[in-house]
């Protein structure tokens, strides 16, 4: 199947509840982020919810934005990997081959969104909690990079099932763990190349759509829909990494 997987995140629906964060941890065998790990600034969250302040008390706003890997079509992380451990699949997923990674961390340095995470230590779980681990997702070892895969294990499983049944994968037949959990349906995943898919329609049917740091020209597969604020004093249309407006 030739799909181009992508995601639309509607910031007007997002309430910052972080169900996506825990769902991703549960699905993808992400190690427990202990207090020490936060102090070391090595917490791993394949999708995170950032909060931005705007204004001053009492006219202050807190804005939420979930940030997974952008799965850029022109990914800056790919070109710097000396061992081709990071690459683009034909379906537009920016993948990491764990047993090829030698841990140079060049990719993390080159990622503008900082959605690549390095395993400084062997991940640890108490023996009993290992029973929860997802058998279809590798546990990453010390010294390798890890990142959001758009829940590739779900993609592979669904494609295999469709292949056995001799049919195409249907839109909405599966989704990523974060999108499935999201209670406000702020996260929608699907095939951007299928004009009938919900994600493609959301991406094209709105004038609220934008790509994060689009000025970099990396062409992310994750699109955002702008937050609506009827009282916004200044519509913020995005500021590029160099501080200039798009």
């Amino acid at each position: 199947m030739s799909a181009r997987w992508g995601m639309v995140i509607d910031l007007d629906r997002c309430t910052g509840c972080q169900a996506c964060v825990v769902a991703c941890q549960a699905e993808n065998n992400i190690p427990i982020n202990t207090e020490d790990i936060f102090h070391q600034r090595r917490a791993i969250e394949w999708i995170r919810v950032e909060r931005y302040w705007e204004g001053e008390y009492p006219n202050v706003k807190a804005r939420y934005i979930p940030i997974p890997c952008m799965h850029c079509a022109q990914a800056p992380c790919e070109s710097v990997c000396p061992v081709y451990a990071t690459y683009q699949t034909t379906q537009g997923i920016n993948m990491q081959i764990y047993n090829r990674c030698i841990g140079t961390r060049y990719c993390a340095v080159n990622c503008p969104w900082h959605v690549r995470f390095f395993n400084y230590w062997e991940p640890k779980w108490p023996e009993s909690l290992k029973h929860q681990l997802n058998p279809h997702v590798s546990v990453r070892s010390r010294g390798v990079m890890e990142k959001c895969t758009f829940c590739v294990q779900r993609i592979v499983r669904t494609e295999q099932e469709a292949q056995v049944e001799g049919r195409e994968v249907e839109d909405g037949e599966f989704t990523t763990a974060c999108a499935q959990a999201c209670p406000t349906d702020a996260i929608v995943f699907g095939d951007l190349d299928d004009p009938d898919s919900r994600v493609a329609q959301m991406a094209s049917d709105t004038d609220r759509g934008y790509q994060l740091l689009s000025g970099l020209g990396t062409d992310p597969a994750v699109l955002y829909l702008k937050k609506i604020d009827p009282d916004a004093t200044d519509e913020i249309d995005g500021i590029g990494p160099d501080g200039t407006r798009d």
Binding site: R13, C14, T15, A19, A23, V49, V60, H114, Q180, K227
Partner: protein, 734 residues
């Protein structure tokens, strides 16, 4: 591709990059790379099949329906049940983390008996026999549970009746006030549903309804549609409250008010609605009865409330002009000495906008199809009722305390003397799965199964506006030697020679399920064969009837509480801050602080993890000479705690907000000795009418201790955090 093949590939050509990027990955099938691990090695092949079981989480987020992925007998992942009308396939962070309960390393792994300061393992037969003996000999036994309904309510009720035990329910006091407000305003003691997808506007007075207020997953599902649903118009949301809560951050406008003035603002909103022709004087008279709305002219009372007159008028227009609209109140608004008045005044606004039990309004829930057979959820006792019980405990009148999924030793303030009372109880029996503060006092522990290992038949509260019952089934075998609380009660009763209607919880669930088949309506509708009917219920996650709604709403409040002003413990000259404890997105009132995923989940507003903090206004912090991580002592007339500072740009200058949930002395190594419990220093003030603890009615003073800690948080975690670039784009156009 194996590592060896890969190296071979590189050796073949010095231009490996060209091979990979230009020649379709050197001739290897691209799909091979999609595997997260190489599948050639047998050890990497997962053998087994996935099974998905529908069940329910009655105690999580108001009760949601779930499906659980089970692989080779182990629970792997929780998803929302797409058939279940309450949450329609969606979940929240706490539901996602519940699988950690099952495999928690500190779970109590079998029945225990106290031996000095520690516990020793005993057999289930010994444990059951000992408790049965205690029940037989007890002159005044007390059974304490969480709010329960359905099958477990019948079992516990029958146990209490047969054994002569008092049954007391423990739940956070704000819900005690809310239940009473629902009774007084709408004539029902069930929580309301909100028809958000069809509402024009929502105004929340303190209720963090998208994160931890009564049914956050249900409301979040509706909220998504409310904002960007198919009806073509975007609903607007205003939030009134002394803290920019996790939900308030999503509001179009947040108006910080003086704590305890929510009711006064509501009456002023009502006055404005009448004045500006959005409601008639007669209707207002009907709704607010003897209250003179003329005493609440916005310009006259604005100073007292902390809002401007224009802001109060804006709220009125928001609700009045966008009707059907929804006004709700909860959280700290309920936790004042005038908590009941605050809530009742706000909920009564829904009558003025004709939004009670209408499309797009506040929906009243009809409750159980047969409350005698399938009881509605039993609400909690008020602080005053607890106070009486504690008096009895102190006097040595209660000789046996049995406690299940309730932790009053953590949730009640020091001033309640619950700990002293516990010491005077001859025997304490706990049915907890984890060692918590109350269980630490136990003489015997009969550990309960966790959520995923249990049978149950419950009535979620709130339901979605029609009759709904969830069916819980064990999706995995108990991971340790634990036993359903209900099964323990039944066996204890049998051992004590008491009669019982059922032989097990499963038996009770099936029996009550059979009663549903006899109702003759709703889904599943195949009720000819009871076995098939129950199987269908199990498969879809419960029973519901979308037609069985509350037929008629009352025309106005039955018994509107009189207006009253909030009273605070601590003189303003001595204690210059309002103390504002608040439940959190991760730990609610502390129930889920034992789960490491939730400990490490950043607080939405502060991004803090694994700790407690006090939120201070930027100017206040500067005046005090403190910054992030500086420790301050928070002193109330009832005690003190020490917590680090988080400088919050949205904190009002005179409010010290502290999250509830940490400060456990027990409750697994993930929660133990971490942060502080703000409830400890709350004064024993109560709501004048319900007797519920007014946990937001304490004033405090702050004093820097001179110490500083590294503040654990997610913010600034990444080397080049995007914080400096406003990546959240905003538009005014809906």
């Amino acid at each position: 591709m194996r590592r060896r093949d890969f190296l071979k590939l590189l050796t073949v050509s010095t231009t490996g990059a060209v091979l990979f990027t230009g020649c379709k990955l050197g001739g290897y099938d691209d799909r091979e790379f999609q595997k997260q691990s190489p599948v050639e090695h047998p050890a990497d092949l997962p053998f087994g099949r996935d099974n998905w079981y529908a069940t329910a989480f009655p105690a999580v987020g108001g009760g949601i329906g779930t499906i659980v992925r089970v692989f080779e007998g182990r629970a792997k992942k929780v998803e929302g049940n797409p058939d279940f009308p309450l949450n329609m396939g969606k979940t929240g962070p706490r539901a996602q983390a519940i699988v950690q309960e099952v495999y928690h390393p500190d779970r109590i792994d079998g029945p225990m008996r106290r031996n000095g300061n520690s516990f020793e393992r005993i057999s289930w037969s010994d444990a059951t026999a000992e408790v049965a003996q205690l029940v037989q000999n007890a002159s005044n036994p007390l059974l304490v549970t969480e709010p329960i309904s359905g099958a477990i309510a019948r079992i516990a009720g029958e146990f209490a009746e047969e054994s002569g035990a008092q049954h007391l329910v423990y739940e956070p006091d704000e819900f005690v006030v809310l239940r009473e407000a629902m009774r007084r305003v709408f004539g029902t003691d069930r929580f309301p549903a909100l028809d958000l997808p069809n509402a024009g506007a929502v105004v929340s007075f303190g209720a963090d309804f998208l994160h931890n207020w009564i049914s956050p997953v249900q409301f979040s599902v509706g909220y998504g549609e409310f904002r960007q649903g198919g009806n073509g118009s975007r609903g607007s949301y205003f939030h009134v409250g002394p803290r920019l809560s996790d939900s308030a951050a999503s509001a179009d406008r947040w108006y910080p008010n003086t704590p305890g003035t929510e009711g006064m603002i509501a009456l002023s909103v009502a006055y404005t609605m009448v004045e500006e022709g959005m409601a008639t004087e007669e209707r207002a008279e009907e709704v607010f009865g003897g209250i003179s709305l003329d005493d609440y002219v916005p310009e006259d009372i604005a100073d007292q409330t902390g809002l401007t007159a224009d802001q109060i008028r804006d709220i009125a227009r928001e609700l009045g002009r966008n009707a059907p609209s929804i006004a709700i109140a909860g959280g700290s608004a309920a936790a004042h000495t005038n908590g009941l008045f605050n809530l009742a005044a706000v909920f009564a606004l829904n009558y003025l906008t004709e939004s009670v039990n209408t499309e797009g309004g506040l929906l009243l829930n009809p409750g159980s199809p047969d409350p005698d057979v399938i009881p509605n959820r039993i609400g909690g006792a008020s602080y005053q009722e607890w106070d009486q019980i504690i008096e009895e405990m102190l006097a040595g009148d209660i000789d046996l305390l049995m406690v299940h999924k309730a932790n009053p030793a953590f949730g009640l303030p020091e001033a309640s003397r619950f700990h002293d009372g516990l010491d005077q109880v001859s025997t304490v029996v706990s049915f907890s799965s984890f060692m918590d503060e109350t269980t630490r006092h136990a003489d015997l522990i009969l550990p309960d199964n966790t959520t995923l290992e249990q049978w149950g038949l419950d009535l979620p509260d709130p339901a979605p506006g029609f009759q709904l019952i969830s069916v819980q089934q064990p999706v995995v075998e108990p991971f340790v030697s634990s036993r359903n609380f209900g099964d323990s009660l039944i066996r204890i009763a049998n051992e004590a020679g008491l009669s019982y209607s059922w032989s097990s919880v499963q038996d009770a669930v099936r029996s009550l399920g059979g009663a549903l088949a006899e109702v003759g309506r709703g889904l599943p509708d195949d009720n000819d064969d009871p076995r098939e009917f129950f199987l269908a219920m199990q498969t879809q996650g419960g029973w519901w009837d979308e037609e069985s709604r509350m037929e008629e709403a009352p025309s106005g409040p039955e018994d509107m509480p009189s207006p009253s002003e909030a009273q605070f413990s601590g003189d303003e000259s001595e204690y210059d801050f309002y103390f504002l404890p608040f439940p959190t997105n991760s730990w609610e009132y502390g129930e889920t602080a034992n789960l490491p995923w939730l400990q490490g989940l950043p607080d939405p507003i502060t991004t803090a993890v694994w700790t407690t903090w006090v939120e201070l206004n930027m100017d206040t912090a500067e005046e005090m000479g403190v910054q992030l991580g500086d420790m301050v002592r928070i002193e109330s007339p009832s005690g003190s705690i020490e917590v680090p500072v988080y400088v919050n740009p949205a904190a009002p200058p005179n409010v010290a907000a502290v999250p509830i949930g940490q400060g456990h002395t027990e409750y697994t190594h993930y929660a133990e000795d971490r942060g502080a419990n703000p409830i400890e220093i709350v004064a024993a003030q109560t709501d004048g009418e319900t007797g519920a603890l007014a946990w937001a009615a304490t004033r405090v003073r702050l004093e820097p201790t001179g110490e500083r800690i590294r503040f654990p948080r997610f913010e600034r975690q990444l080397p080049f955090q995007l914080e400096d670039n406003p990546v959240v784009q905003v538009t005014r156009d809906a």
